[in-house]
Subunit: 194 residues, 2 copies
DNA sequence: CTGGATCTATACAGACCTGTCTGCTATAGT
DNA sequence: ACTATAGCAGACAGGTCTGTATAGATCCAG
């Protein structure tokens, strides 16, 4: 599956290496802080090759965002089927999984957005697309769960997810998984343990 | 009041202009994207003067964070006294006030943190200090409100505040004030309107 | 009245950045 | 066999960045 691009040819190996390297470096160090020179050096690729595949750095950044989005979709798809409520909890647990990774630096979508002030930039548009997709996933699960107000509750869950992503990075709470469960329970109105 | 620094002399006018200019430019454009040259140009200050007051750019960034923190404290202090629960809601409404500002670009603390990956940097430490202070404010209000678990609920409110700051910027919901009230109600367990 | 602090103006070093260009090689489809 | 695609290597232009240095003006306290 999916070693192919939109046309028939297989994806270029060099392009793949560039994208993988960029994903690692951007996530760890931020977008502006990582230069093209470093990316092509660590990817083992000539500069001309880079600019053959990407018209400018911003195109790489957009591809990086889309790569992250693809990864997020795959992570959720691989969760398997469960009841809607458990599904939501499993999705939120992915936040803890990410935070457990060494070198976790917070949500890369939020971080990238912070470096692109212009909301009409292609990078921000790619981020918007991902966020809209994720919101739709949550809403669908809430509908399945017979939630009385899925739109509004999806908003509240989005707030919770973003907040947990920020807190998991900046405050590094010891009991993150408990905090996640507690937060989801508060938003969905479940009885909270003492 | 308070035109004085730690020593007896009044705060330097040039330093004040630098800090005001930096606050405006950093908030709007990000930290890395705004250079020293632009700051001193718009502040109307010589470069030597800048480096007389700040040893390096990072010192200015730390001062910028502390300036923002001071502003946040002042904003909360100026709310006046009300019952604890209303106080919490008033604090959260400050998020909507900020989002209504033209050129709002999201929480400047979150944005600055995104540009400083190293948690031990002085910038991140200043951000940590501010976050800890804010958490304490919320906890104290929850104690006053006779909340059964003020620590855990302060965590949940912090999650809510950070999430609302992200969402108010990236999603720009039309009914932000309603979303804020709804979120706080869910976290504190109040009956939600249909 | 003298020395220190504050300030302006400007030039410069050295690093790093993005993006272009030239040359050359190898492979694969038509 | 020809040509388009993909790739490597490296130089280079032109800009921006931080931070330092030089040289002089102003003001105030001891």
């Amino acid at each position: 599956m999916s070693a192919a691009r939109t046309n028939g040819r297989p994806e270029s190996l060099a392009r793949r290496r560039i994208l993988d390297t960029a994903t690692a470096l951007f996530s760890l160090g931020g977008v502006r802080a990582v230069g093209i020179d470093r990316i092509i050096a660590e990817a083992g690729v000539a500069k001309a090759t880079f600019y053959h595949h990407f018209a400018a750095k911003d195109d790489l950044v957009r591809a990086y965002i889309e790569e992250l989005s693809k990864g997020g979709r795959a992570a959720i798809a691989s969760l398997g089927r469960r009841p809607a409520r458990q599904m939501i909890l499993a999705i939120f647990d992915l936040i803890a999984d990410a935070a457990d990774q060494p070198g976790y630096r917070g949500c890369p979508f939020q971080n990238a957005a912070a470096e692109y002030p212009d909301p009409s930039s292609s990078v921000r548009q790619a981020i918007d697309k991902h966020r809209h997709w994720k919101w739709g996933i949550l809403k669908d699960l809430l509908i399945t769960d017979a939630n009385p107000d899925p739109d509004r509750t999806a908003d509240a869950l989005t707030v919770a997810a973003d907040g947990l992503l920020v807190v998991s990075h900046l405050d590094r709470p010891a009991n993150l998984r408990t905090l996640i469960r507690d937060t989801v329970d508060r938003v969905l109105g479940a009885p909270r343990p003492v």
